[in-house]
């Protein structure tokens, strides 16, 4: 199965901000310092089901 490649869409994403991705994961619909602000902006732009994530720093590995 082909993985979902988010590298292009996240390449220039603002580190430390919350972003709202389109449900197809192919574009950033909105971004803001807080989850609620980014989500509200995405909904206002007509994105019905944005996916929310906060852009981690470039070395955010997890154990």
């Amino acid at each position: 199965m082909q993985p979902i490649d988010l590298t292009a869409v996240l390449k220039d994403a603002p580190i430390g901000e919350w972003i709202a991705l389109s449900f197809a994961r192919d574009r950033i619909v909105a971004h803001a310092p807080t989850l609620s602000a980014a989500l509200d902006e995405a909904l206002n732009l007509g994105e019905k089901q944005p996916i929310m994530m906060k852009v981690p720093p470039p070395h955010a590995m997890i154990l």
């Binding site: 082909q2 979902i4 430390g16 919350w18 989500l39 929310m52 981690p56 470039p58 955010a60 154990l63």
Partner: protein, 160 residues
């Protein structure tokens, strides 16, 4: 439900000088509490004992923190972290994409979710054993870039 791994950009360092990306088992998870709901990413993390999310998620769901259901946990360091737990509803949403099996059904389940400030920098939830692996059969196929989440089959008692 079969879900493809997701590839995320990541920086290189002295240990991994050629690294530019990593592959993680991530689901789109609809979280709901009362009439509030929205979708977040969550990593399916077989090394996590609990299911935890950034505190911002609780705020948007209308959950007041701190509450009276606190639990401590730790990562690789000695510092303990504090999460506040709340029963919510979760639904794993299938993705509509050409390389994914069509017509997969969403998987809904009750989730006892923890919320903590210390996960805020990570920006995604973690689906661990309590409430998630305890409920589903999960298998990973890293080389083929997918993982599978199956609801347990409940066998009816044999009729005699």
């Amino acid at each position: 439900m079969k879900v493809p791994f997701s590839i995320l950009p990541v920086g290189s360092d002295s240990a991994f000088p050629l690294r530019t990306e990593l592959k993680r088992p991530i689901v789109a998870l609809l979280l709901a509490k009362g009439d509030r709901q929205f979708v977040v990413f969550a990593v399916v993390d077989s090394g996590a004992d609990l299911c935890v999310f950034p505190a911002s998620v609780a705020t948007r769901l209308g959950i007041s923190l701190p509450n009276d259901r606190a639990s401590t946990f730790s990562g690789s360091g000695e510092t303990t972290q504090l999460a506040y737990f709340e029963p919510i509803q979760a639904t794993i949403l299938p993705m509509d994409a050409p390389n994914i099996e069509p017509d997969q059904e969403p998987i809904a389940f009750p989730l006892y979710a923890g919320f903590c400030e210390t996960l805020e920098h990570f920006g995604m939830g973690l689906l661990g054993h309590e409430s998630f692996f305890s409920r589903f059969t999960v298998s990973f196929n890293y080389t083929q870039s997918y993982f599978e989440i199956l609801e347990p089959v409940i066998l009816a008692p044999a009729l005699s």
